[in-house]
Symmetry: C2
């Protein structure tokens, strides 16, 4: 069989050739007026994407770099932060906080469950020394969406910041930063923005910015005070990843033309179609509160996720993500982000069916696919009606 | 006049379309065996470029990120380092050291001069608490080459590390890391590697690595211990800049096929031809010990570098770099790195002539160009003989 690659991982995601080629032109110099105009255009469109009037900064780094930037710019040594830990990326917030000598208090959430706002509120009541809540918009390792809006209602009236890792969430579903009162929003390029990896983003509320001015841990490359100074001159503190920024401009232009509402509806359709298909196959969703960025499927006993993914990859060119940490082998993760259509979801489900079947799991071939198709047809009718 | 852009800045540099297009293909997933093979190939070729048997790590970041990685991984708070400061990038070493609470002792060198090894040796004698010497291979703001080999002769017999910012030097002239005993070498993508910006590199000697294990300042994204673990599995700690790595593979392959000797000879020819042309115009070189990466030209009284560069950019599409810091307006910098031929040097000189002439400086039109052409012809004859 001729193999074609089909990428369904939560970053990298499929990138539209137009976006790739935008980054493959001659490299302009980043300190010239012509490029400042590009930066300025990008920054306007990033505000639209973040739904904020505040500046959005970007770094040449993976998303983890921007998470570190949040911690290094907002706190002083020994300060206490509340970390919501219900998967691999919650653990990462904790690791960064510990690395910098902060005192993290954990709200440990069973993997697959969302944090209960009540529990966060109680911790804040009992620990008035807590300076911020560090959370994921959703936990990409489990597919669980955390109730960020409710958390913001708790933090906004207190001297506590809400710091949201939205690396694989921003642009997938609504997270209106200013309206909800999110203090810090962190994002990455290889997710809903549908770019190659290598750029990260961070925006801060006024409340958060006042901390940057007054506090901070050792930082240089990720020093937001330096970026702020450069921001005012439509440039960056250090040489930016010029080619990725040119791709970013193309991607943001596309998002702006399409509009956030339609983008969110698109991801809602893809994820819902996938979930319908998965349930029709008699499989379970791992996440109690599933997000729209990816579908995490609990595998039946006897089906090893690593083996399933290897068969799909080697025989069919289909790349799903596996389970991380304690979920290794127990789940597969199908991502909906990037340059994907509803029929790509059908393709993913067809791969899931054929893979499970090859592993001896009794699949009624076509059951998931046909349910997803029905759902997509229904939705298409609603839209054209 | 139809404008075409001619880029002569010390990063970004002109990138070959083949290299750009290598990064514009479908984005592979970075955790799969296929991509580990790419990483492994890249790492082999990076060892060739760094002339080392030690691992070479890379980050998605600008070169400054790798400079920070060096400081954050090698030292503990309050330790003393010797910083050679003779331009903007020497100042940067100092800023990073101060940011992290180190105690930098400075060897201040007049801008345009190289550090004298004797002076470094004396400082080390008088301050046995110095743990490392932080220096540039050359200072890109002045064009001055520092005597790195001689410095290594001083540090290698002591418990002192030699940390070399070779961001715009690696691959331009010989800096054999293992042979000379350089302890840390830092590099960037948008220089001699002739890639877009967004990747940085760092290699450490065994002597330096033992410090990473035992010491260190707060760091997460730039934590080399995490990268080492990932290195052993042919991967990276965090999502790498996949598209830039695919371009890097192409660039490294080209360097390997060409051979370092020829690459160094190429830069030697370009820089020498440029210097000959500049001197033939009656202008002065700013650097006492000029490097091969760029030519820094001291402007005659009454010629403002900012204005000259603006004329060249706006009328002729030629982009030279200006002076930084205290050299603002006083020099222009013509870079030889990237996808450039000897005749591009002639083009740069012709732009310099026409620009100076437009500013009213008495130029014998063609004097610089013809001298450079003579030099190039002579060299071409030597090679073919």
């Amino acid at each position: 069989m001729l193999k074609k690659w089909h990428l369904f991982t939560p970053g990298p995601v499929p990138v539209h050739p137009k976006v790739l080629l935008a980054g493959a032109g001659p490299i302009p110099h980043h300190r010239l007026p012509e490029f400042s105009a590009v930066i300025s255009e990008i920054r306007q469109d990033l505000k639209y994407l973040f739904q904020t009037e505040r500046p959005v900064f970007f770094f040449a780094s993976s998303g983890t770099g921007a998470m570190e930037a949040a911690v290094a710019n907002l706190f002083s040594p020994g300060e206490t932060v509340l970390v919501v830990r219900g998967g691999k990326f919650g653990e990462r917030w904790g690791e960064i906080a510990e690395t910098y000598g902060l005192n993290p208090i954990y709200v440990d959430v069973p993997w697959g469950k969302a944090v209960r706002p009540k529990e966060v509120e109680e911790k804040l009541e009992n620990h008035p020394e807590i300076r911020a809540v560090l959370v994921q918009a959703h936990e990409t390792s489990t597919g669980v969406k955390h109730p960020v809006r409710e958390l913001a209602e708790i933090t906004r009236s207190r001297d506590v910041l809400l710091v949201v890792d939205a690396i694989s969430a921003l642009g997938v579903y609504p997270l209106p930063m200013d309206e909800w009162g999110l203090d810090v929003v962190v994002a990455g390029s290889q997710k809903s923005l549908a770019l190659p990896p290598g750029l990260s983003f961070i925006a801060l509320s006024e409340k958060a910015w006042s901390r940057v001015e007054s506090e901070g841990l050792p930082r240089y490359y990720f020093d937001l005070r330096r970026e702020w100074k450069a921001y005012e001159k439509d440039t960056t503190a250090y040489t930016p990843a010029v080619s990725l920024l040119l791709s970013l401009r193309e991607s943001l232009k596309h998002i702006r033309e399409m509009g956030l509402e339609r983008l969110f509806a698109h991801y809602s359709l893809l994820s819902e179609a996938c979930r319908e298909g998965v349930l029709a196959l008699g499989l379970k969703l791992f996440a109690e509160e599933p997000c729209e960025a990816l579908t995490v499927i609990e595998l039946p006993d006897g089906v090893d996720g690593g083996k399933l993914n290897r068969i799909l990859r080697e025989k069919y060119g289909v790349i799903f993500a596996g389970g991380q940490g304690k979920l290794k082998g127990r789940v597969v993760r199908i991502t909906h982000m990037g340059d994907q259509s509803p029929l790509d979801v059908v393709l993913a489900l067809s791969a899931l069916e054929i893979g499970l079947s090859e592993m001896g799991y009794p699949v009624k071939m076509g059951a998931g696919v046909s349910r997803a198709l029905e759902y997509i047809k229904e939705k298409a009718r609603e839209v054209s009606a």
